[in-house]
Structure formats: C-alpha cells, structure tokens
Amino acid sequence: MSARTLLPPDAAASPSHPRWGVRRAARLAFPEPSALAADPVHAARLRRYLADLLAPYGLRPDPIVGGQSYGEMAEALIGAVVPAGEQVDLLVLAHSVPDLAPGRATACRLGHVCPGGPLSFAVTDQGGTAASTALRLLAAYADSAGLRRALLLVVEQDRLPYDPGVPVALPAVSRGVALLFGDPLPGERPLRVDPAATARPGTGPWWELAGRVAAR
C-alpha cells in the first residue's frame, strides 16, 4: 500500500458538498462472545496486561469470561455497510469501553481490510461521547483533505473484566453501528447529521440514527 499524503486545511480546502451526509447505515448486536475470547494465547496475554494496568490503582482483574473484539465487530459492520465495488477514503473507529484486545491497533487493521485502504484511526476515552468527536473529525477531513467517502464505526461492548472502583455505566448488550458518509450518488438523499445532536453516551443515538437511515 502506498502512503496517503495530505496538505494542511487551508491549502487543501475544497468546497463542502451541501448534501454530504449518511448514505448508508448498518447496526448489529453482538450477543455472543467474539472468537478472540476463546483464544488461550490471547487470554494469557490479556491477564498480564490487565493485572499490570490495574495494579497502580489498587485493582485486580476479574476472571475473564467472554468479551468482544472490536476488530471482529467492525469487520462485520464494514461488510454490512460498504457496497460491493465501493471504496472508502477515511475510517474512524469510536468507542469508550476498552477492547478485548487492549493493546491492538485495531483501526490500523481495519484500514487494511476495508475496501479502498482508507486512512483509519480511533477516537476513544471521551466519557462515552467519542463518536460525536469522531463525526466532527470525519466532516473536517472530508472538507479539508478531500476524504469524502468516510466510514464512522461506533462500537461498545457490555463487559469490563474488572471493578474499576468508581461508578461506570456499561451497555446492556454489545452493539455496533456503521455510518457510511459521502456525497450523493444519483437517486440518493444523504442524511445530514449534527454532531451536537448525537453527543449522548453510548451507541444509543447512533443506533437510532441508523434506524432512521434504513427507514428512508
């Protein structure tokens, strides 16, 4: 794969298409543990990682049972939302609850498996509203870097393999949402989305949005 090169915002600015928005959406629930959860090599690595992560906080991991690999969730979502023959320029993965693979550069991997070999990265650790910031970034890169065919992936799992010692809200079920943004193809009416309107924790607002897109 060759490098993507970007100019800074002013130099690369292109006029925003007035109808850039959500062209397609998919939403999936993941009630079963991921395949990675059954991998004993991964489990041993995860136990060490978590034990060392938690020790400075006086915490210890629970026995690890199940859990979700965001890579597996995201690959299923990509397959559900990116039409055959289409390419993606930019992929942003957003979540709050950590991945079953806490040291993995999952978004980098997704850039490899997603059609178009998009620039991909992750936005996390924003108290449940990382996806709203991810959407702002998606729009900013679409306008200033010409990465207009953009995929937002919002994933959250229902499991945290430790008691963090502070209040924490976890989803009732592991879910993921994929929103494919772009300029309209003939016959399409992309849905404009205001990041401020989705700045609520979790996948809830994105799940509802995906439902609205599917119903159009």
């Binding site: 709050s96 550069a105 980098c108």
Partner: protein, 312 residues
C-alpha cells in the same frame, strides 16, 4: 494552516540500564548486548512510582504559552501508542485539564491506533478540527507520553525499549510558527498479527527502512520541496541503526537526524518528536523559514509509517 504555537517536553530523572530491563523481560545477555552495541540503546527514563498524570503534568508545565490562553483551548487530544493505558473509566487527561483551568466542556479524547506515529496524527487532526470551527484564535492542546506499565509497553521486540516521559504542544489553525506543510501516512494493517507470526516479524524488519524512507519522501514531495532543503529530521527514538538505514535509503546526512536521546532516554512512545524538537532548537537545526521533518514508525500489532513536514 495548522501550526505549533509552542512545544514542550518532560523527561523524568530516573534511569534504568538496558541490562536491568533485559533481565526483567527475559532477554538473553546476547540480545541485550545487541541492543547496547548495535542499536545504540543504553538506559531508558523511568518515573518510579509516578503516574501518567505526573508525566503529562510535567509536559504541560513547560507550555508557557498556555498561560493566559486557557480559555482559548477548544480541544485536548492525547496521542496514544497503546490504546488502553488506564483502567476505564479513569481519565487522568481530564484531571490534568481541570488542574490547568481549561473549560470543563472542552472535548478531551484520545486519538490513536497508529502506535508511536499517533502524535503526528493528533497534530493533523487537531489542526483540521480548529480549521473547521473557523475561530482563528482557538487552540488545541496535544499531549503525548505513557507509562511503561507492562512488558508489552516496555519494549518493542528486537528494536527498542520504551522510556517514560511526555510531550505537549499547542496547535493553532492560523499561527505562523512551525507550520505544517504536509503529512504522509502509510498504514500497514497486514502486520496486525506480527507478534504471533515470526514470518511477519521478518517481513516487517525487511521493509522497515524502505517504508519509513518512502513516507518521508512522500511528505517532502507533497510539500513541494526537495529533501536537500530539509534542515533536520526529528525521529522516533526507536534506535540508531534503523535511522542510519533510513538515511542510507534517502541519501540524507545522519548528523541532521536528532538521535541524541536514543542512548540515554529511549523511545518515549508518541512524545519523541516533542523532546527532539527542543534538542533540534538547541542545536540550531531549526532555522526560521526552513523546513524540517518529524517522522515515526509505529510497530506492534499493526504498523504505521508517518512523516510530517513543518516550516520553522
């Protein structure tokens, strides 16, 4: 145009020799000798008993330009080498923002999955967010730095040892200092499972120098420049031999690559560029109006090669 209003870094005073680290990580004496003699690593920085908040606080304290401008900060980004570095939902970056007197409503988040190249991503992302908002006075605070809290975050197998430290910069969409001219990134997700597949490890080592050189060349060309005009390269501190190889591929003089901290500090996650920025300034390698390059390869589970051209 994205620019860096100010840059700072913090390196704690503690040091651990690679021989001690090697023993802790189960390396053989021969492997450790290779690290010291071939890769040029001697000791790495450690903040024994200190936290991530302590490291980031140290870097932020050096941002004199932030004082009196706290109300202008619209975004705070933590550039991550490792995606998960504290127990969820603990948030030391937000704690730091409160200490600094930033607006409680400012988005505070992490960007990453480019491993140790995530610092360049954070600068680029911050600049685009600010430009989209359109407020010429607005700023973003970019932070980098992590704890070497577990073996996976203590060493890059066969390449380097991580040092603890931090860096910070204030990003503006309209400033005139250290302006970003171009950014290039090459994601190599095919190396995702490199830790479990020795044949991929060999392939990664084989392409490393060429891939890193290629992304430097791509960024310089996109900036409309030739490499001869680049006054300095601010590298990631992975080791000396990797950068000597990149210099050979590029035909770039190795004395203009800031490698001073490899033997005494180690590879400070995404913060190497901030540390090396200070050193390049002190050495007179950054001259007003002249371009320089910050570049990194992020390796681990997934690989990223990235370079950014800036004008001092």
């Amino acid at each position: 145009m994205t620019s860096l209003l100010a840059v700072s870094d913090h390196v704690p005073s503690g040091r651990v020799p690679v021989e001690v680290l090697g023993e802790e990580l189960g390396l053989t004496p021969m492997q450790v000798r290779i690290f010291r003699r071939y890769h040029g690593l001697g000791e790495v920085s450690r903040d024994e008993g200190g936290s991530l908040l302590d490291l980031l606080r140290g870097a932020a304290a050096g941002l004199v330009a932030l004082r009196g401008r706290e109300h202008l900060v619209r975004y705070v980004l933590h550039a991550r080498s490792f995606p998960t570095v504290v127990p969820y939902p603990h948030d030391p970056v937000r704690e730091l923002c409160a200490e600094l007197g930033l607006d409680a409503g400012v988005p505070v988040f992490s960007v990453g999955h480019h491993a140790c190249a995530s610092g360049l991503l954070a600068i680029d992302a911050a600049g685009r967010l600010l430009a989209a908002d359109g407020d010429p006075d607005a700023l973003a605070l970019v932070l980098a730095g992590e704890k070497a809290f577990t073996p996976e975050a203590a060493a890059v197998p066969g390449s380097s040892f991580f040092g603890e430290g931090a860096g910070a910069c204030l990003v503006s969409a309209s400033g005139g200092r250290d302006r970003v001219l171009a950014y290039a990134v090459d994601l190599r997700g095919e190396f995702d499972t490199v830790a479990d597949r020795p044949e991929l490890e060999s392939e990664f080592q084989r392409i490393y120098g060429e891939a890193l050189a290629a992304v430097v060349r791509a960024a310089v060309e996109r900036a409309g420049l030739s490499l001869e005009r680049v006054t300095a390269v601010l590298p990631h501190n992975v080791n000396r031999v990797a950068w000597h190889q990149v210099c050979r591929v590029l035909g770039y003089p190795r004395e203009r690559v800031v490698l001073e901290h490899v033997p005494t500090v180690g590879h400070v996650f995404c913060a190497d560029h901030f540390l090396n920025h200070r050193t390049a300034r002190q050495r007179g390698l950054l001259r007003p109006g002249e371009p320089y390059v910050m570049a990194a390869a992020g390796a681990g589970r997934g690989a990223t090669f990235a370079a950014m051209v800036l004008q001092h």
